[in-house]
Amino acid sequence: MNTSLKLIVESLLFAGSEPLTPRQIRSLLPGKNLKEIKQVLKELKNEYETMKRSFLLKEVAEGYQFRSLPLYRPYIANMLSLTPSRLSRAALETLSIIAYKQPIIKQEIERLRGVDIAGILRMLLKKGLIRIAGRKALPGRPIIYGTTGKFLELFDLKNLSSLPTLKEIEELGDGEEG
Protein backbone atom coordinates (compact mmCIF):
# COMPACT_ATOMS: atom_id res chain seq x y z
CA MET A 1 0.00 0.00 0.00
CA ASN A 2 2.61 2.50 1.07
CA THR A 3 4.90 1.13 -1.62
CA SER A 4 2.46 2.21 -4.21
CA LEU A 5 2.04 5.65 -2.64
CA LYS A 6 5.81 5.89 -2.55
CA LEU A 7 6.10 5.13 -6.23
CA ILE A 8 3.31 7.51 -7.13
CA VAL A 9 5.12 10.27 -5.30
CA GLU A 10 8.35 9.24 -6.96
CA SER A 11 6.74 9.45 -10.40
CA LEU A 12 5.57 12.97 -9.67
CA LEU A 13 9.05 14.02 -8.60
CA PHE A 14 10.45 12.33 -11.68
CA ALA A 15 8.22 14.09 -14.18
CA GLY A 16 8.00 17.47 -12.51
CA SER A 17 10.67 20.06 -12.98
CA GLU A 18 10.24 22.20 -9.88
CA PRO A 19 10.65 21.06 -6.27
CA LEU A 20 7.39 19.66 -4.91
CA THR A 21 6.24 20.37 -1.37
CA PRO A 22 4.31 17.74 0.66
CA ARG A 23 1.31 20.03 0.43
CA GLN A 24 1.48 20.21 -3.35
CA ILE A 25 1.75 16.47 -3.51
CA ARG A 26 -1.22 16.04 -1.22
CA SER A 27 -3.32 18.29 -3.41
CA LEU A 28 -2.66 15.89 -6.27
CA LEU A 29 -3.57 12.81 -4.28
CA PRO A 30 -6.99 13.16 -2.71
CA GLY A 31 -7.54 10.94 0.27
CA LYS A 32 -3.93 11.00 1.40
CA ASN A 33 -2.84 12.95 4.43
CA LEU A 34 0.21 15.10 4.88
CA LYS A 35 1.76 12.74 7.39
CA GLU A 36 1.72 9.78 5.02
CA ILE A 37 3.20 11.88 2.27
CA LYS A 38 5.98 13.26 4.44
CA GLN A 39 6.70 9.73 5.52
CA VAL A 40 7.13 8.35 1.99
CA LEU A 41 9.21 11.35 0.98
CA LYS A 42 11.61 10.51 3.78
CA GLU A 43 11.68 6.88 2.76
CA LEU A 44 12.38 7.82 -0.82
CA LYS A 45 15.18 10.14 0.23
CA ASN A 46 16.80 7.38 2.26
CA GLU A 47 16.41 4.82 -0.50
CA TYR A 48 18.19 6.97 -3.03
CA GLU A 49 20.98 7.65 -0.55
CA THR A 50 21.46 3.93 -0.07
CA MET A 51 21.25 3.12 -3.79
CA LYS A 52 24.26 5.29 -4.60
CA ARG A 53 23.11 6.44 -7.98
CA SER A 54 24.25 9.56 -9.80
CA PHE A 55 21.41 11.60 -8.31
CA LEU A 56 19.63 12.07 -4.99
CA LEU A 57 16.31 13.21 -3.74
CA LYS A 58 17.15 16.51 -2.07
CA GLU A 59 15.19 18.79 0.20
CA VAL A 60 15.21 22.19 -1.38
CA ALA A 61 13.07 25.27 -1.11
CA GLU A 62 10.56 23.64 1.23
CA GLY A 63 10.14 20.82 -1.20
CA TYR A 64 11.79 17.79 -2.70
CA GLN A 65 13.58 17.50 -6.00
CA PHE A 66 15.79 14.98 -7.75
CA ARG A 67 19.24 16.45 -8.23
CA SER A 68 22.38 15.05 -9.72
CA LEU A 69 25.45 14.73 -7.50
CA PRO A 70 28.03 17.52 -7.82
CA LEU A 71 30.52 14.90 -9.00
CA TYR A 72 28.76 14.70 -12.35
CA ARG A 73 28.37 18.40 -12.84
CA PRO A 74 31.18 18.82 -15.40
CA TYR A 75 29.67 16.21 -17.72
CA ILE A 76 26.19 17.60 -17.44
CA ALA A 77 27.38 21.17 -17.88
CA ASN A 78 29.25 20.07 -20.96
CA MET A 79 26.11 18.45 -22.34
CA LEU A 80 24.01 21.51 -21.67
CA SER A 81 26.53 23.82 -23.28
CA LEU A 82 26.59 21.67 -26.36
CA THR A 83 22.85 21.73 -26.81
CA PRO A 84 22.36 22.92 -30.33
CA SER A 85 22.24 26.60 -30.89
CA ARG A 86 19.00 28.34 -31.51
CA LEU A 87 17.70 30.45 -34.29
CA SER A 88 15.36 33.31 -33.60
CA ARG A 89 12.23 33.71 -35.66
CA ALA A 90 13.80 36.75 -37.29
CA ALA A 91 16.87 34.75 -38.22
CA LEU A 92 14.79 31.95 -39.67
CA GLU A 93 12.80 34.41 -41.75
CA THR A 94 15.95 36.00 -43.08
CA LEU A 95 17.42 32.61 -43.83
CA SER A 96 14.28 31.59 -45.68
CA ILE A 97 14.39 34.72 -47.84
CA ILE A 98 18.00 34.02 -48.74
CA ALA A 99 17.17 30.40 -49.48
CA TYR A 100 14.28 31.19 -51.76
CA LYS A 101 15.58 34.35 -53.41
CA GLN A 102 19.28 33.63 -53.77
CA PRO A 103 21.49 35.06 -55.08
CA ILE A 104 20.33 38.12 -53.18
CA ILE A 105 21.85 41.34 -51.87
CA LYS A 106 21.39 42.74 -48.38
CA GLN A 107 19.32 45.70 -49.55
CA GLU A 108 16.85 43.36 -51.16
CA ILE A 109 16.49 41.26 -48.01
CA GLU A 110 16.00 44.41 -45.97
CA ARG A 111 13.37 45.62 -48.42
CA LEU A 112 11.48 42.38 -47.91
CA ARG A 113 11.86 42.26 -44.15
CA GLY A 114 11.58 45.98 -43.57
CA VAL A 115 14.29 46.01 -40.92
CA ASP A 116 18.05 46.22 -40.62
CA ILE A 117 19.53 42.75 -40.77
CA ALA A 118 23.27 43.28 -40.51
CA GLY A 119 23.46 41.47 -37.17
CA ILE A 120 21.43 38.52 -38.36
CA LEU A 121 23.51 38.18 -41.53
CA ARG A 122 26.69 38.12 -39.47
CA MET A 123 25.24 35.44 -37.21
CA LEU A 124 24.09 33.29 -40.13
CA LEU A 125 27.51 33.64 -41.75
CA LYS A 126 29.15 32.62 -38.50
CA LYS A 127 26.93 29.60 -38.17
CA GLY A 128 27.91 28.66 -41.68
CA LEU A 129 24.35 28.64 -42.96
CA ILE A 130 24.89 31.37 -45.54
CA ARG A 131 27.89 32.46 -47.57
CA ILE A 132 29.11 35.39 -49.59
CA ALA A 133 28.53 34.31 -53.16
CA GLY A 134 30.15 37.26 -54.94
CA ARG A 135 29.40 40.85 -55.74
CA LYS A 136 26.71 42.29 -57.90
CA ALA A 137 27.53 44.50 -60.89
CA LEU A 138 25.76 47.47 -59.37
CA PRO A 139 27.05 50.75 -58.03
CA GLY A 140 28.94 50.00 -54.85
CA ARG A 141 29.23 46.37 -55.94
CA PRO A 142 27.03 45.02 -53.15
CA ILE A 143 27.70 41.60 -51.68
CA ILE A 144 25.55 38.71 -52.86
CA TYR A 145 24.44 36.09 -50.36
CA GLY A 146 23.53 32.46 -50.86
CA THR A 147 23.05 29.37 -48.72
CA THR A 148 25.70 26.76 -47.93
CA GLY A 149 26.03 23.01 -47.92
CA LYS A 150 25.53 23.14 -44.18
CA PHE A 151 22.18 24.78 -44.79
CA LEU A 152 21.16 21.86 -46.99
CA GLU A 153 22.34 19.46 -44.35
CA LEU A 154 20.39 21.21 -41.62
CA PHE A 155 17.18 21.00 -43.56
CA ASP A 156 17.86 17.57 -44.88
CA LEU A 157 17.82 18.74 -48.48
CA LYS A 158 19.53 17.00 -51.34
CA ASN A 159 20.00 20.19 -53.29
CA LEU A 160 18.44 23.61 -53.66
CA SER A 161 15.96 22.48 -56.25
CA SER A 162 14.37 20.17 -53.73
CA LEU A 163 13.30 23.20 -51.73
CA PRO A 164 9.48 23.20 -51.84
CA THR A 165 8.03 25.98 -53.97
CA LEU A 166 5.61 28.58 -52.71
CA LYS A 167 2.91 26.92 -54.73
CA GLU A 168 3.59 23.64 -53.02
CA ILE A 169 3.45 25.34 -49.65
CA GLU A 170 0.01 26.59 -50.50
CA GLU A 171 -1.15 23.28 -51.81
CA LEU A 172 -0.57 21.73 -48.43
CA GLY A 173 -3.86 23.25 -47.45
CA ASP A 174 -4.81 25.10 -44.35
CA GLY A 175 -5.80 22.30 -42.07
CA GLU A 176 -5.88 22.83 -38.36
CA GLU A 177 -6.96 19.29 -37.79
CA GLY A 178 -6.57 18.07 -34.23
Binding site: T83, P84, R86, L95, F155, I169
Partner: protein, 267 residues
Protein backbone atom coordinates in the same frame (compact mmCIF):
# COMPACT_ATOMS: atom_id res chain seq x y z
CA UNK B 1 -33.06 14.49 -34.50
CA UNK B 2 -32.72 11.13 -32.86
CA UNK B 3 -31.84 10.02 -36.32
CA UNK B 4 -28.60 11.95 -36.46
CA UNK B 5 -27.24 10.23 -33.42
CA UNK B 6 -27.58 6.95 -35.21
CA UNK B 7 -25.71 8.18 -38.21
CA UNK B 8 -22.11 7.23 -38.00
CA UNK B 9 -19.61 9.64 -39.40
CA UNK B 10 -17.25 8.03 -41.81
CA UNK B 11 -13.76 9.23 -42.53
CA UNK B 12 -14.14 8.51 -46.20
CA UNK B 13 -15.69 6.26 -48.80
CA UNK B 14 -13.53 3.28 -47.85
CA UNK B 15 -14.60 3.61 -44.26
CA UNK B 16 -18.23 3.63 -45.29
CA UNK B 17 -17.76 0.64 -47.59
CA UNK B 18 -16.10 -1.36 -44.84
CA UNK B 19 -18.96 -0.57 -42.54
CA UNK B 20 -21.52 -1.77 -45.10
CA UNK B 21 -19.62 -4.97 -45.71
CA UNK B 22 -19.52 -5.56 -42.01
CA UNK B 23 -23.17 -4.96 -41.24
CA UNK B 24 -24.16 -7.13 -44.18
CA UNK B 25 -21.84 -9.83 -42.90
CA UNK B 26 -20.53 -10.55 -46.34
CA UNK B 27 -17.22 -11.90 -47.47
CA UNK B 28 -14.88 -9.16 -48.58
CA UNK B 29 -13.64 -11.28 -51.47
CA UNK B 30 -17.17 -11.80 -52.72
CA UNK B 31 -18.97 -8.51 -52.24
CA UNK B 32 -22.59 -8.47 -53.45
CA UNK B 33 -21.88 -5.32 -55.40
CA UNK B 34 -25.47 -4.45 -56.32
CA UNK B 35 -26.65 -4.53 -52.72
CA UNK B 36 -23.65 -2.68 -51.40
CA UNK B 37 -23.87 -0.06 -54.14
CA UNK B 38 -27.54 0.58 -53.38
CA UNK B 39 -26.85 0.89 -49.69
CA UNK B 40 -23.91 3.14 -50.37
CA UNK B 41 -26.06 5.49 -52.47
CA UNK B 42 -28.79 5.40 -49.87
CA UNK B 43 -26.30 6.43 -47.28
CA UNK B 44 -25.13 9.36 -49.38
CA UNK B 45 -28.74 10.44 -49.82
CA UNK B 46 -29.22 10.24 -46.11
CA UNK B 47 -26.16 12.37 -45.53
CA UNK B 48 -27.49 14.98 -47.90
CA UNK B 49 -30.93 14.86 -46.35
CA UNK B 50 -29.29 15.59 -43.03
CA UNK B 51 -27.35 18.42 -44.57
CA UNK B 52 -24.03 16.70 -44.15
CA UNK B 53 -21.62 17.85 -46.75
CA UNK B 54 -20.84 14.95 -49.02
CA UNK B 55 -17.24 15.24 -50.12
CA UNK B 56 -16.18 14.58 -53.68
CA UNK B 57 -14.33 11.49 -52.56
CA UNK B 58 -17.65 9.86 -51.71
CA UNK B 59 -19.07 10.69 -55.12
CA UNK B 60 -16.03 9.34 -56.89
CA UNK B 61 -16.45 6.04 -55.11
CA UNK B 62 -20.16 6.08 -55.99
CA UNK B 63 -19.28 6.29 -59.64
CA UNK B 64 -16.70 3.51 -59.30
CA UNK B 65 -19.26 1.29 -57.60
CA UNK B 66 -21.82 1.97 -60.28
CA UNK B 67 -19.27 1.20 -62.92
CA UNK B 68 -18.35 -2.10 -61.30
CA UNK B 69 -21.99 -2.93 -60.86
CA UNK B 70 -22.62 -2.41 -64.56
CA UNK B 71 -19.61 -4.53 -65.45
CA UNK B 72 -20.84 -7.34 -63.23
CA UNK B 73 -24.03 -7.50 -65.26
CA UNK B 74 -22.07 -8.07 -68.40
CA UNK B 75 -22.36 -11.66 -69.61
CA UNK B 76 -19.02 -13.40 -69.32
CA UNK B 77 -17.41 -14.88 -72.41
CA UNK B 78 -17.23 -18.58 -71.93
CA UNK B 79 -13.99 -19.24 -73.76
CA UNK B 80 -11.78 -16.87 -71.83
CA UNK B 81 -13.56 -17.18 -68.54
CA UNK B 82 -10.32 -17.87 -66.74
CA UNK B 83 -8.69 -14.71 -67.83
CA UNK B 84 -11.47 -12.30 -67.03
CA UNK B 85 -10.57 -10.27 -64.02
CA UNK B 86 -13.27 -9.87 -61.46
CA UNK B 87 -14.44 -6.26 -61.84
CA UNK B 88 -14.55 -6.01 -58.07
CA UNK B 89 -10.90 -6.81 -57.74
CA UNK B 90 -9.64 -3.26 -57.52
CA UNK B 91 -12.15 -2.25 -54.87
CA UNK B 92 -11.35 -5.34 -52.86
CA UNK B 93 -7.66 -4.65 -53.08
CA UNK B 94 -7.97 -1.09 -51.85
CA UNK B 95 -10.30 -2.19 -49.08
CA UNK B 96 -7.81 -4.78 -47.90
CA UNK B 97 -4.97 -2.29 -47.97
CA UNK B 98 -7.09 0.21 -46.13
CA UNK B 99 -8.06 -2.30 -43.45
CA UNK B 100 -4.47 -3.23 -42.95
CA UNK B 101 -3.43 0.37 -42.42
CA UNK B 102 -6.39 1.11 -40.24
CA UNK B 103 -5.32 -1.67 -37.99
CA UNK B 104 -1.76 -0.39 -37.98
CA UNK B 105 -3.10 3.02 -36.97
CA UNK B 106 -4.96 1.47 -34.10
CA UNK B 107 -1.89 -0.33 -33.00
CA UNK B 108 0.06 2.92 -33.03
CA UNK B 109 -2.65 4.59 -30.99
CA UNK B 110 -2.46 1.86 -28.40
CA UNK B 111 1.24 2.32 -27.74
CA UNK B 112 2.55 4.09 -24.66
CA UNK B 113 2.40 7.56 -26.11
CA UNK B 114 4.66 10.25 -24.71
CA UNK B 115 2.77 12.94 -22.79
CA UNK B 116 -0.35 10.78 -22.84
CA UNK B 117 0.75 7.58 -21.11
CA UNK B 118 4.35 8.12 -20.23
CA UNK B 119 6.43 11.15 -19.37
CA UNK B 120 10.02 12.11 -19.63
CA UNK B 121 12.08 13.88 -17.01
CA UNK B 122 10.95 17.34 -16.11
CA UNK B 123 13.16 19.91 -17.65
CA UNK B 124 15.20 21.92 -15.24
CA UNK B 125 15.15 25.48 -16.23
CA UNK B 126 18.03 27.52 -14.78
CA UNK B 127 17.93 29.87 -17.72
CA UNK B 128 19.41 27.21 -19.92
CA UNK B 129 16.42 27.11 -22.15
CA UNK B 130 16.27 29.78 -24.77
CA UNK B 131 13.30 31.97 -25.30
CA UNK B 132 10.25 30.10 -26.31
CA UNK B 133 10.19 31.97 -29.57
CA UNK B 134 13.52 30.55 -30.58
CA UNK B 135 13.93 27.41 -32.55
CA UNK B 136 16.32 24.70 -31.69
CA UNK B 137 18.46 24.19 -34.75
CA UNK B 138 18.55 20.48 -34.09
CA UNK B 139 14.81 20.39 -34.48
CA UNK B 140 14.21 23.03 -37.10
CA UNK B 141 12.31 21.54 -39.98
CA UNK B 142 11.96 22.38 -43.61
CA UNK B 143 8.34 23.11 -42.92
CA UNK B 144 9.35 25.84 -40.50
CA UNK B 145 11.64 27.34 -43.10
CA UNK B 146 8.80 27.35 -45.61
CA UNK B 147 6.43 28.90 -43.14
CA UNK B 148 8.98 31.55 -42.27
CA UNK B 149 9.28 32.49 -45.92
CA UNK B 150 5.54 32.64 -46.30
CA UNK B 151 5.33 34.89 -43.25
CA UNK B 152 8.04 37.17 -44.53
CA UNK B 153 6.34 37.59 -47.89
CA UNK B 154 2.96 38.07 -46.29
CA UNK B 155 4.25 40.77 -43.98
CA UNK B 156 5.70 42.65 -46.88
CA UNK B 157 2.89 42.11 -49.32
CA UNK B 158 -0.25 41.58 -47.28
CA UNK B 159 -2.24 41.95 -50.48
CA UNK B 160 -0.67 38.96 -52.10
CA UNK B 161 -3.23 36.43 -51.15
CA UNK B 162 -1.60 33.15 -50.44
CA UNK B 163 -4.93 31.51 -50.48
CA UNK B 164 -5.51 27.92 -49.77
CA UNK B 165 -7.97 26.90 -52.37
CA UNK B 166 -10.18 24.15 -51.20
CA UNK B 167 -11.60 23.71 -54.63
CA UNK B 168 -9.10 23.96 -57.42
CA UNK B 169 -11.66 23.22 -60.08
CA UNK B 170 -14.91 25.00 -60.51
CA UNK B 171 -17.86 22.78 -61.26
CA UNK B 172 -19.52 25.65 -63.14
CA UNK B 173 -16.53 26.09 -65.41
CA UNK B 174 -16.47 22.38 -66.05
CA UNK B 175 -20.14 22.50 -67.03
CA UNK B 176 -19.36 25.13 -69.63
CA UNK B 177 -16.33 23.16 -70.78
CA UNK B 178 -18.33 20.01 -71.25
CA UNK B 179 -20.97 21.83 -73.24
CA UNK B 180 -18.30 23.44 -75.39
CA UNK B 181 -17.05 20.04 -76.36
CA UNK B 182 -20.37 19.30 -77.99
CA UNK B 183 -19.58 21.97 -80.55
CA UNK B 184 -20.30 20.51 -83.94
CA UNK B 185 -21.51 17.18 -82.63
CA UNK B 186 -24.47 15.73 -80.89
CA UNK B 187 -22.75 12.98 -78.92
CA UNK B 188 -19.77 12.69 -76.63
CA UNK B 189 -18.49 9.74 -74.69
CA UNK B 190 -17.72 9.66 -71.02
CA UNK B 191 -14.26 8.33 -71.70
CA UNK B 192 -13.57 11.47 -73.81
CA UNK B 193 -14.08 13.59 -70.73
CA UNK B 194 -11.59 11.60 -68.71
CA UNK B 195 -9.16 10.89 -71.50
CA UNK B 196 -6.41 13.21 -70.38
CA UNK B 197 -4.40 12.60 -67.23
CA UNK B 198 -6.21 14.54 -64.58
CA UNK B 199 -6.04 15.02 -60.86
CA UNK B 200 -8.64 13.43 -58.66
CA UNK B 201 -10.10 16.80 -57.76
CA UNK B 202 -10.48 17.72 -61.41
CA UNK B 203 -12.15 14.42 -62.17
CA UNK B 204 -14.54 15.00 -59.33
CA UNK B 205 -15.34 18.46 -60.67
CA UNK B 206 -16.04 17.00 -64.11
CA UNK B 207 -18.19 14.31 -62.61
CA UNK B 208 -20.18 16.80 -60.55
CA UNK B 209 -20.56 19.02 -63.59
CA UNK B 210 -21.91 16.08 -65.50
CA UNK B 211 -24.46 15.29 -62.80
CA UNK B 212 -25.51 18.89 -62.71
CA UNK B 213 -25.95 19.00 -66.49
CA UNK B 214 -28.10 15.89 -66.34
CA UNK B 215 -30.14 17.41 -63.56
CA UNK B 216 -30.75 20.65 -65.39
CA UNK B 217 -31.72 18.71 -68.49
CA UNK B 218 -28.87 20.01 -70.61
CA UNK B 219 -27.66 16.57 -71.46
CA UNK B 220 -28.88 13.03 -71.32
CA UNK B 221 -26.80 9.98 -70.68
CA UNK B 222 -27.18 6.66 -72.43
CA UNK B 223 -25.49 3.37 -72.41
CA UNK B 224 -25.98 1.62 -75.71
CA UNK B 225 -24.92 -1.75 -74.44
CA UNK B 226 -24.19 -3.11 -70.99
CA UNK B 227 -20.60 -2.39 -70.19
CA UNK B 228 -20.07 -0.03 -73.10
CA UNK B 229 -18.96 3.53 -72.77
CA UNK B 230 -21.49 6.03 -71.47
CA UNK B 231 -22.79 8.23 -74.29
CA UNK B 232 -23.71 11.84 -73.60
CA UNK B 233 -26.20 13.65 -75.74
CA UNK B 234 -26.62 17.39 -75.65
CA UNK B 235 -30.20 18.62 -75.45
CA UNK B 236 -29.71 22.20 -74.63
CA UNK B 237 -26.50 23.27 -76.29
CA UNK B 238 -27.67 26.76 -77.08
CA UNK B 239 -28.07 27.73 -73.48
CA UNK B 240 -24.37 27.33 -72.93
CA UNK B 241 -23.31 29.08 -76.08
CA UNK B 242 -24.51 32.45 -74.98
CA UNK B 243 -24.95 32.17 -71.28
CA UNK B 244 -22.03 32.06 -68.97
CA UNK B 245 -23.39 30.06 -66.11
CA UNK B 246 -23.87 32.69 -63.53
CA UNK B 247 -24.77 32.77 -59.89
CA UNK B 248 -27.09 29.83 -59.88
CA UNK B 249 -25.92 27.94 -56.90
CA UNK B 250 -25.52 24.28 -57.33
CA UNK B 251 -28.27 22.93 -55.21
CA UNK B 252 -27.47 19.73 -53.51
CA UNK B 253 -29.81 17.69 -51.37
CA UNK B 254 -32.88 16.20 -52.96
CA UNK B 255 -32.17 17.40 -56.44
CA UNK B 256 -28.67 16.07 -56.55
CA UNK B 257 -30.06 12.78 -55.38
CA UNK B 258 -32.30 12.61 -58.39
CA UNK B 259 -29.43 13.27 -60.71
CA UNK B 260 -27.29 10.49 -59.34
CA UNK B 261 -30.25 8.18 -59.54
CA UNK B 262 -30.79 9.04 -63.18
CA UNK B 263 -27.22 8.28 -63.85
CA UNK B 264 -27.49 5.01 -62.03
CA UNK B 265 -30.65 4.07 -63.81
CA UNK B 266 -29.26 4.66 -67.21
CA UNK B 267 -26.07 2.76 -66.65
Amino acid sequence: MTFTTKLEVFEGPLDLLLHLIKINEVDISDIPIATITDQYLEYLDLMRALDINVAGDFLLMASTLMHVKSKMLLPKQKDDLEEIEDPREEIVRSLMEYMQLKEAAQELASRDILYRDVFKRGIEIDGKRGEKEDINTAEVTLYELMSAFKNAIKKKYPDIVLRFKAEAWSVKKKMVEIMKRFKGKQNLYLSDLFSKMRSVSEMIAIFLALLELVRTGSIKVFQDKQGSDIRLEALNKKAYEWRKVKGQRLKAKGERKVSSRQYAASS
